[in-house]
């Protein structure tokens, strides 16, 4: 596939993520910050985000595994995940965090468990799409480098 076609494919792929509400405009802001002086910015941010999100989701699950859930601790983790999601433009994941926040505020353990399932679902979807996105990005970079 040639460079122009790859770029179009990437653009369309990101567009579909906007349309599905998986990503919002904040992600465009991040893309806009990538340039020749920072050619891997998007990949770096995505990588940081995914590592962080996985860490937090694990912590949340661990917290919910206790008989007596420490809800204020849980709240702190949800806040972090919601913040990161917002910063990268992960719209649906951010919304899923709001569910967990609510259940946690209500001290509703069962509600929390359900909300975490949704979060995990959304995260896995997002991660898959990010992986596809990065794959496209890397192919583009490779082609561009070869053309020089």
């Amino acid at each position: 596939m040639d460079l122009a076609a790859l770029k179009t494919q990437l653009k369309n792929f990101v567009q579909s993520m906007f349309e599905e509400g998986v990503l919002d405009n904040q992600f465009s802001q991040i893309q806009a910050l990538q340039d020749s002086t920072n050619p891997n910015f998007v990949e770096e941010v995505i990588t940081l985000f995914c590592n962080d999100a996985e860490r937090i989701i694990n912590e949340i699950n661990r917290n919910l595994g206790y008989q007596n859930v420490d809800f204020s601790n849980l709240d702190s983790y949800v806040h972090q995940l919601k913040g990161s999601s917002s910063s990268i433009g992960a719209n649906r994941l951010k919304l899923a965090c709001a569910n967990l926040r609510q259940a946690s505020d209500e001290r509703n353990k069962e509600g929390c468990l359900q909300a975490v399932q949704l979060i995990t679902c959304e995260y896995c979807l997002l991660r898959r799409k990010f992986q596809a996105l990065l794959h496209l990005e890397r192919s583009i970079v490779e082609l561009e480098t070869n053309q020089k």
Partner: protein, 185 residues
């Protein structure tokens, strides 16, 4: 944290404080894109450390004066040391919600410090809580930015930086800086 910072007088130096790794990366990129020199730290106490203030100094200037009168050093020298250690920070931008010391706590400590009270402080938060915003602005924050912070927000910081810079300049060369009064819109 060994750093060789080239003090370029034409560049503004911003100290960014945020416990979130992603947000630190973003704010750093936003600031650098706008040609600011950036130091990013992950906590209020690290910020104070960078400025050369430990928590004790920031809390109690009276204690400082007491100490100064007992030692050889003149208080203005110590102020200068603090300024030098702070490596000419022209603006501090901090997250509000951080474990331990919040951005608000940090704001208070900076404003209580004789060496650093004139450095403009900007607060960022993911939560739009009017009472929080007014409290920060009333207690000395120049601006309150809602996260995620955009490039346009960073551009709003320039007038505050000009103000911070003019304090550095010798009185004989003092320029009048435009004072922007913001109401946390």
């Amino acid at each position: 944290m060994g750093m060789a910072i080239d003090r370029d007088d034409t560049q503004f130096h911003v100290l960014a404080v945020d416990d979130s790794l992603i947000d630190r990366k973003l704010i750093e990129r936003l600031l650098k894109t706008s040609s600011f020199q950036v130091t990013a730290v992950d906590s209020g106490s690290k910020a104070l450390e960078f400025l050369g203030l430990n928590n004790n100094d920031a809390d109690d200037d009276e204690e400082d004066e007491q100490r100064d009168s007992n030692t050889e050093s003149v208080s203005s020298d110590e102020d200068q040391d603090h300024q030098d250690l702070g490596l000419g920070v022209n603006l501090i931008i901090t997250d509000y919600c951080m474990p331990g010391m919040t951005g608000y706590d940090l704001l208070k400590k900076i404003k209580k410090s004789s060496s650093f009270k004139d450095i403009p402080v900007v607060i960022m938060s993911s939560e739009n809580i009017p009472s929080r915003i007014s409290r920060c602005l009333e207690d000395g924050a120049e601006e309150f930015l809602l996260k995620p912070v955009q490039l346009s927000d960073v551009n709003k910081l320039r007038p505050h930086l000009m103000k911070g810079r003019s304090k550095d300049i010798d009185s004989s060369h003092k320029t009048t800086s435009t004072r922007l009064i913001t109401s946390g819109n």
